[in-house]
Symmetry: C2
Amino acid sequence: MNIAILGAGQLGQMLALAGIPLGIRARFLDPQPEAPGSMVGPQRVADYSDHAALDQLAQECSLATFDFENVPVDAASYLEQKIPVYPSPQALAHSQDRLREKTLFRTLGIPTAPFQPVDSLAELKAAVSRIGLPAILKTRRFGYDGKGQVWLRKAADCGAAWHELGGQDLILEGVVTFRRELSLIAVRGRNGDQSFYPLAENQHHAGILRLSRPADSHPALQTQAERYGRLLLDRLDYVGVLALELFDCEDGLVANEFAPRVHNSGHWTIEGAVTSQFENHLRAIADLPLGDTHLREQCAMRNCIGTLPDRDAVLAIPGAHFHDYGKSPRPGRKLGHVTLTAPDASSLAARLEMLDQLLVDS
Amino acid sequence: MNIAILGAGQLGQMLALAGIPLGIRARFLDPQPEAPGSMVGPQRVADYSDHAALDQLAQECSLATFDFENVPVDAASYLEQKIPVYPSPQALAHSQDRLREKTLFRTLGIPTAPFQPVDSLAELKAAVSRIGLPAILKTRRFGYDGKGQVWLRKAADCGAAWHELGGQDLILEGVVTFRRELSLIAVRGRNGDQSFYPLAENQHHAGILRLSRPADSHPALQTQAERYGRLLLDRLDYVGVLALELFDCEDGLVANEFAPRVHNSGHWTIEGAVTSQFENHLRAIADLPLGDTHLREQCAMRNCIGTLPDRDAVLAIPGAHFHDYGKSPRPGRKLGHVTLTAPDASSLAARLEMLDQLLVDS
């Protein structure tokens, strides 16, 4: 069985790796030549909106998916006229627009930070006076890893923020006071079956995910997160893996955003869970039974940003699992990750400390 | 880093899959077009002894290994003049000749069944009267999965056995009475570091491995097996993974044979051990630190022989990990395997029973 993957980054690569043992072969479309996925499946180098390329994929593959949420909805919709696309272009569209996304959360009764669309400096000032400060002005589309965002700390910041982002569709969001950032990796099959991984706790640095690990949290928090996850999956008639980013606040969970794809905060599932998020995404879209999402051991995942650490030194740490995406180094770029597994919490802490000394993010 | 793999069967495929996250890319040589390895790395279709093909591999790769033990020693030696080959062609040569192999065991003080080379019917009869019956007449070379072997149960069987195998280099081996068949998956790095997986217990059917799982055994047995493993690894100045097949007998362990490669009885290490045998083979030959060989959970591996079971039904079993090699079905052919993991022995037993009902070997 061949599946088409729009986007051949590291997520596509890891999807393709998970597919081989299942008898599922990936075929990629990505405008970047020699993208990471191309090591595991043939890559067609073309724009996502190239109809000839999409036509060929549709001929070779029985269904399609994508590895990042900024694939043009038009491309996914065009492909959907020929072969099934999971998750649906509609889910993709929701995630691409912060206003639609937050409105959907609100409609479903999932708490969010206060927000308001902003189309002029006057509207920005009005929104600030309604929502309060600090607040964050964000582009509604194509933001990732903290890009396309400006913080407003005082009323006088409005002008500069408007100067930087004005002219695009914008949204002002209130700032939520939270104890920690969490994410829920959820999966829904074509038959509606659903499964959830244990909540992950995430630490960011300069807007980029740095550390992710199964969260030490009360079962009630997991239940609350899964309730929000179910609402979202069912409303979108979602198929595949979805990541729901949440803030853990005094009054409960507050949704930040969702990604309609496998997610960086679920990479620890490769070694840490019975079934990885990558395999479960494939199982879901290929209409196979979903796999067990339980934790197998203590684990934590650390991104390698900008530079890769010394491979020998990392592999000398017991329980270290190295993941080199094969990308050329560039500051702020995710080049790989290391997952540490350990039989107990204290060994994991010791191993994390060893790893920290080897990693220099840039 | 590119490595050359002579042989692109399922073992080569699983080596290549383990290599991608480590930044190691496989390039295959195999005379069979579209072999399983070719899904994960480019395959050159040519004979192993094709010097032009070997020359090209040597240009593209920094070292070489192989995925089956019947690669011609000449090909490995030719390649070794250009790039390092691990395990060495010398280790390969020992494993290709049952007489050399058994003699090596004896030299190292590792117990074996009684054996004697046989070059004529008269020698066969003499060997039978010395070794006793039952005994097995085997070709010294190119036997696998029970092929090239004839059982002798009474003196009168000599003629028929000679008729079937005579003309090749032969060896007569006494039959060992054993409680069970075990194997030790061992790994040795380029710096001499060694590591061993827990002994595996193996069940064969019609000469083909059917079930393999970490053995429930006394620590003293593991110690004895590792002592034999160390003797063998050191004598051969071995680099990579080696599988030592052993009989568990009343008086202790008796060596049967060794395979100078990753081994079917170590497939459960992919999900069941901290580091898989495939990753550890790559770590060893690439001069990286060896990975932890401890068991992570209860597990068992079942081969799919001749036909693949229904994928949906297998994946509905909790803790089932499906491995489809992408080969066309043929009776007696290993097409894939399923590894079951479980948090405890009783769930594993229940899962194995479910799996057994889905598998029909042919």
